[in-house]
Every structure is written in structure tokens, then in C-alpha cells.
């Protein structure tokens, strides 16, 4: 869910690959592939009809849940292809499916599986879709393919007009009655025109098909809301947990650090007070000790504050704070800041600690000689790249650090993407949806 950044109800334009001719060929090939898909869908529907027709023999019923799951998988293939080929991404509408336990008996498993599948509204929508889709495929993605095919038939007419006429065929190509070389050659440009028309149409028909598919296969409003609620309660629980853990850590740090030092300081001062008349030299030593204690307490408090909310971040915002972070690093880090304003404070803080964690990772693992940070604001998102030319091969599933960053960001519907091929370079990109406020104008 978090990865789906495309706004629902808004299609992305079909991918532009070179010229419209290239896009057209690609679209035609994809259309042809959809025709194959239509056959598979029809096969599944047929299988399901047969299983239900022979339900009287009881055992065919056992095949129904696996068939329904196959329907689900095929529908998911359509969803994926719709995103990749038609430019209309479709999210998954299903509630989590629990595989029946392996120890359960055959019929118990059947009961559990079919119970879940029947109560899942998306199953019924999938089935309806699958019955209609073969027809829809012939109406949409297959039409440009047919037109291109018809064009090819015309272009190649000179090769076989004679045998057709010899065999007594009444050979019309569109409005041309092909009876001799002249008419056969005339059908070549007409065929080319048909091919061009088909290629030109292909991306549009694919897009329309994708939109039709989405109207049936996308989560209904209610399901989308359910999914959002589930996501929200999950991230809220995480936010509450990390918040509570953070407060416990601060409490412990204060208790063991500054608080303890202040107590010690008070004791040292009272000891100094006791001896000040009899032994001024000892009292002086105790006072120096008390002063050192207070300096240490201050240092500890300072470090604590830095961990809670770094002062530069509050003063200058994320851009300067990251620059300060880079300055304190042992290596030279190139920072590019193209932010026209400041995000809200909580977003800034999340982004800052994510960058700080990423930099710590870089210095721990990467073996990099060049590190760069790039900050910008695009399409309503704060985007920060942290890149290095180290050996790469970072695995997000390995580090708990990366998982922690993702958790922090997900509370703001932000995401972390990591590209780290073996041999490098590694680029971690974080994206946080937010609004920017205009930069503060100083009174001086």
C-alpha cells in the first residue's frame, strides 16, 4: 500500500518508447498477448462451470477453491500488465488470505478456503470480470492488432493475388476488387495505411482497456478505505511504540546522566560548605569538582537534546541541518539543496534522522570515497537522495537500521527506496509527501 504513490482515478500516460511507430508495434504485441490471456480466462471459466455442473458427484467441488485461486492469480496478472503495458496501475483489492492449515482434513480445508473466497467481495468481481474480459479483449486491445494484420494482408497482396484469383476467389481488399497486377499493387499503399492506423490506435485502445480493467479489478471504495484504515492503524501503533520507547530512553538518560550529576554536585557543594572554615584548600578542590560536574551535566544534556531535536534543524531547517551533518562527518560530502522552503517540523525531523541513519550506514559499510546528498521538492514530495560510490550490495532486508527508517517514514506516508547493485553505486532515496512553507524572512 505504501508503495502505491499514484493517485487513484488518475491514469499515467502510456510509456513513450521512441516514436509512435515503436509504441504502436509494442502495443500490438501486447494486444496479441492479451488475446492469449483471453483464452486462459475462458478456460478457467469453463473449468469452473464444469466443476459446478458436476457438483452432484461432490468431489469436483474440491477443485473449486484452487480454481478460484487461479482466477485470482490471473486477475493479478491483468492488474500488473495493466500497469506495465497500459499505463493504468491497479492495486490489489484482496483482504489477507490465510492458507488452511496442512494438518486439517480435506473437507475442513475445503470449508476454510471456500469460506474465505466466498465472503471476499473481490472474488465475485474477479469472476464477473473474467466472464466479460474475453469479449472486452476482442473489443479493445485486439482491434488494432486486427487492423495491422489486415494491413499486412494488403501489403503482401502482390505475392498471392494470382493464386487466389486462379482458385476462383472473389478477392476484395477493402474497396479494391483485386483482379490484376494494378489493383494488387494499389492494395499495397492501402495496406500500409491500415498498418499505420492500427499502430496509431494501439496505445489508445490499450489505455482504454486498462481503464476498463481498473473499473472492475481495482478495490472498491469500501475496500480501499478498509485497506487504508488497516495501514493507518498499523503505522499509528508503530508511531506510538517508537514515541514511547523514545520517551523511556530520554527518561533513562536524564536519570542516569544529568540528574545523577546534579545530585553529586549538591553533595560536593555541601561537603565544601562543611570544610570551608577549617580547610579552605580542600573546600576549593571540592568547588572545582562541583564545577566540573556541572560542565559534564551540560555536555550530557547537550548530546541528549541533539538526539531529540538538533538545534540547527529547529533554527535553519532540513537543508542547513543536513549540511551541518555533512560538515561533522569525517569524509567530504557533497550537499545539493534545491528546496524552495521548509516542510513542517515533524516531517523535517523524520527526514533528518533518516539521512543521519543513512550516512551512518555509509560510513559503516560502503567503503566509499565520494558521498553526495541531493535534496529537492517534486510533485508534492520532499525527495532526498543519499548516494555513495562504495561497493554496493546493501540489502534492505538485512539491516534493522533501514527497516527503522522505513517505519519512521511510513508514519508520514513516506517511502525509502534503495538501489545498491553489487559493485555500487548505492543510492538511497527517501520521499515524503508534504507541503513547503515559504522561507522565513529575517527581521534583519
Amino acid at each position: 500500500m505504501t508503495g502505491d504513490t499514484a493517485a487513484p482515478g488518475k491514469a499515467i500516460a502510456p510509456r513513450q518508447r521512441g516514436s509512435w511507430i515503436g509504441a504502436g508495434w509494442l502495443g500490438s504485441v501486447h494486444g496479441l498477448a492479451f488475446v492469449g490471456l483471453a483464452l486462459a480466462e475462458a478456460g478457467l471459466i469453463l473449468a469452473l462451470t464444469l466443476e459446478l455442473s458436476f457438483a452432484i458427484f461432490v468431489y469436483p467441488l474440491l477443485l473449486v477453491p484452487p480454481t478460484l485461486l487461479a482466477v485470482r492469480r490471473l486477475a493479478s496478472v491483468v492488474r500488473r500488465l495493466s500497469g506495465e503495458w497500459c499505463g493504468v496501475p491497479i492495486p490489489e483489492p484482496y483482504r489477507p488470505y490465510r492458507e488452511p492449515g496442512p494438518r486439517a482434513g480435506t473437507w475442513q480445508r475445503f470449508g476454510e478456503a471456500s469460506g474465505q473466497l466466498i465472503t471476499e467481495p473481490a472474488t465475485w468481481r474477479d469472476l464477473l470480470w473474467m466472464t466479460l474480459d474475453p469479449l472486452l479483449i476482442w473489443l479493445l486491445p485486439a482491434i488494432p492488432v486486427t487492423v495491422v494484420g489486415w494491413g499486412l494482408f494488403g501489403v503482401l497482396m502482390p505475392a498471392y493475388w494470382n493464386p487466389i484469383v486462379q482458385a476462383g476467389g472473389n478477392n476484395w481488399y477493402a474497396f479494391i476488387h483485386v483482379t490484376n497486377w494494378l489493383t494488387a499493387l494499389l492494395s499495397v499503399p492501402l495496406g500500409l495505411a491500415f498498418i499505420a492506423l492500427g499502430l496509431w490506435l494501439a496505445p489508445y485502445f490499450l489505455r482504454w482497456y486498462g481503464q476498463a480493467a481498473r473499473s472492475m479489478l481495482a478495490p472498491t471504495k469500501q475496500v480501499a478505505l478498509e485497506q487504508q484504515v488497516a495501514h493507518l492503524s498499523e503505522t499509528r501503533a508503530e508511531v506510538v511504540d517508537t514515541g514511547a520507547a523514545e520517551i523511556r530512553r530520554i527518561e533513562r538518560d536524564l536519570h542516569d546522566g544529568a540528574q545523577a550529576r546534579l545530585v553529586a554536585m549538591g553533595m560536593t557543594l555541601s561537603a565544601a560548605e562543611q570544610v570551608i572554615d577549617d580547610n579552605p584548600a580542600a573546600a576549593r578542590a571540592l568547588l572545582v569538582e562541583a564545577r566540573d560536574s556541572s560542565a559534564k551535566a551540560l555536555t550530557e544534556l547537550r548530546d541528549l537534546v541533539r538526539g531529540i531535536h538538533p538545534p540547527v534543524l529547529a533554527d535553519r531547517g532540513i537543508g542547513e541541518a543536513v549540511r551541518a551533518l555533512a560538515m561533522d562527518s569525517r569524509r567530504k560530502i557533497q550537499v545539493t539543496n534545491e528546496l524552495p522552503g521548509r516542510p513542517a517540523a515533524p516531517v523535517e525531523s523524520a527526514a533528518y534522522f533518516a539521512v543521519s541513519e543513512l550516512l551512518a550506514n555509509v560510513s559503516k559499510h560502503a567503503g566509499a570515497s565520494h558521498v553526495w546528498i541531493d535534496m529537492r521538492y517534486e510533485r508534492g514530495m520532499l525527495r532526498i537522495d543519499v548516494g555513495d560510490d562504495g561497493q554496493g550490495g546493501a540489502d534492505p532486508s538485512q539491516g534493522t537500521g533501514l527497516r527503522g527508517i522505513e517505519r519512521r517514514l511510513s508514519a508520514f506516508d513516506g517511502i525509502l527506496a534503495l538501489s545498491s547493485p553489487p559493485g555500487g553505486p548505492t543510492v538511497a532515496t527517501l520521499e515524503l509527501p508534504c507541503e513547503l512553507s515559504s522561507p522565513r524572512t529575517s527581521s534583519f
Binding site: R291, S294, V305, P311, V312, D315, R316, A324, D328, R330
Partner: protein, 214 residues
């Protein structure tokens, strides 16, 4: 020596006034905002201003901005900036005009009032006073620098003290060596880092800071 203080916390402002007066400074004005500092500087033309970084109304880096603005209005006005924390980024902004007469210290340094008074006198005299923490962070972030690696441990120590703004005499006293030995170390440092040698205390500090702040 006349001082203007800008500090919003009453306890600290009061403490600063008392301490500075005890060390023979004359406190011309004590204000609690950045705008107040500018007005007081205009009115009293002090020998040096002591400014807290965080001031109302924004409670961000208001004081630092006011200090920089005051130096823009009164070129060469010595300013000592105090803060609960030190940042390289702010140190660089203060040093950016390269004219000296700036200090940037943690508030903790007030604890040693004699040293603090000395630092303030140094700044008022056109010198610099950088907090050891700024220097150690500058050094840490340059630790992989091969030129710095060429310095002997003794030279590094001299350089740290020099970057804080101390004179050869002060460094000699601190390290318990002769002034002549310090001078030898400093010229060796300047050669190794490829900096212009200089006898002027302040020039050499700025050179070292510029080197570290590249």
C-alpha cells in the same frame, strides 16, 4: 572596556553582568532581543558585544543573525557569541568576513570566569576565541586529510590551541614549553599546510580556521 550583552534568560543575563563587572568590564546595556542588540550597539558603540544565539521572538538563531547584522552595520565590531551548543556551520558564518574580532563559545565556558574574561578581551582586541569543541569537530571532520596526518602530535596540539585563538605566549604557558618552541611548531605547521606564514596572532588563527573550514 564597555560591553553590550544580549541574553534573554534573566538568570544568565544577571550572572554575566555580575561576572563581567567583577572582571573590570563596564556593562553599557543588557538587552533580551536581537532588535534590542542592534539598537544598543547603535546607541552605545561598545568595545565588544556578548550575544546569545537563541533569542526571542523566534527562539532560533535570532542572536547570531543579529550579531552578523551588527557587524555589517558597524564594521569590525567585536562580537562574542554564546550558545548552549556549537555548530561548525555557525562558526563559519561568523568567520566568513575574515576580519577577526569574533568569538564563538559554549555557555559552559562562563564557568571559568578568568578564562572567559581573557577570551572576551582577546575578541575586543580584534582577535578570535573559538570554542575547543568547534575546533575538535573541525579537526575530526578533517581527520582523513593527508596534510593533517603529516603533523606531529605536538604540532596538532599547538594547532588546536592556535585555532582557539590563543597567542604564542598563552600556548607556551598551557603546554609548558618555551615561546620559541611554540614559534618553531607554528612555522612548521604553516609550511606543512601550505599557508602563508604570519606573525600576527589573529591572521594565523584565521588562516588555520580557513584551512580547516575548506
Amino acid at each position: 572596556m564597555r560591553v553590550v550583552i544580549a541574553e534573554d534568560l534573566f538568570l544568565l543575563r544577571d550572572g554575566l553582568i555580575r561576572m563581567l563587572e567583577a572582571h573590570g568590564f563596564e556593562v553599557a546595556a543588557a538587552v533580551d532581543t536581537g532588535a534590542g542588540l542592534l539598537a544598543a550597539v547603535d546607541e552605545h558603540r561598545p568595545d565588544v558585544a556578548v550575544v546569545d544565539v537563541r533569542l526571542p521572538p523566534t527562539f532560533t538563531d535570532e542572536g547570531l543573525r543579529a550579531a552578523l547584522e551588527a557587524r555589517r552595520r558597524v564594521p569590525g565590531l567585536p562580537v562574542l557569541v554564546l550558545s548552549q551548543y556549537v555548530e561548525q556551520i555557525y562558526a563559519r558564518e561568523l568567520l566568513a568576513d575574515g576580519s577577526g574580532g569574533v568569538g564563538y563559545l559554549l555557555k559552559d565556558r562562563v564557568f571559568d570566569s578568568a578564562q572567559f574574561a581573557e577570551a572576551l578581551r582577546r575578541v575586543a582586541g580584534g582577535g578570535t576565541a573559538m570554542d575547543p569543541e568547534v575546533i575538535s569537530r573541525l579537526l575530526a571532520s578533517n581527520a582523513d586529510d593527508s596534510d593533517l596526518g603529516g603533523l606531529s602530535p605536538r604540532e596538532r596540539e599547538v594547532m588546536e590551541l592556535m585555532a582557539e585563538g590563543r597567542s604564542n605566549a598563552a600556548i607556551a604557558q598551557r603546554m609548558v614549553i618555551t615561546e620559541r618552541a611554540v614559534a618553531k611548531h607554528t612555522s612548521s605547521i604553516f609550511t606543512k599546510l601550505g599557508l602563508q606564514p604570519s606573525d600576527d596572532d589573529n591572521r594565523r588563527v584565521l588562516a588555520v580556521l580557513a584551512y580547516l573550514g575548506r
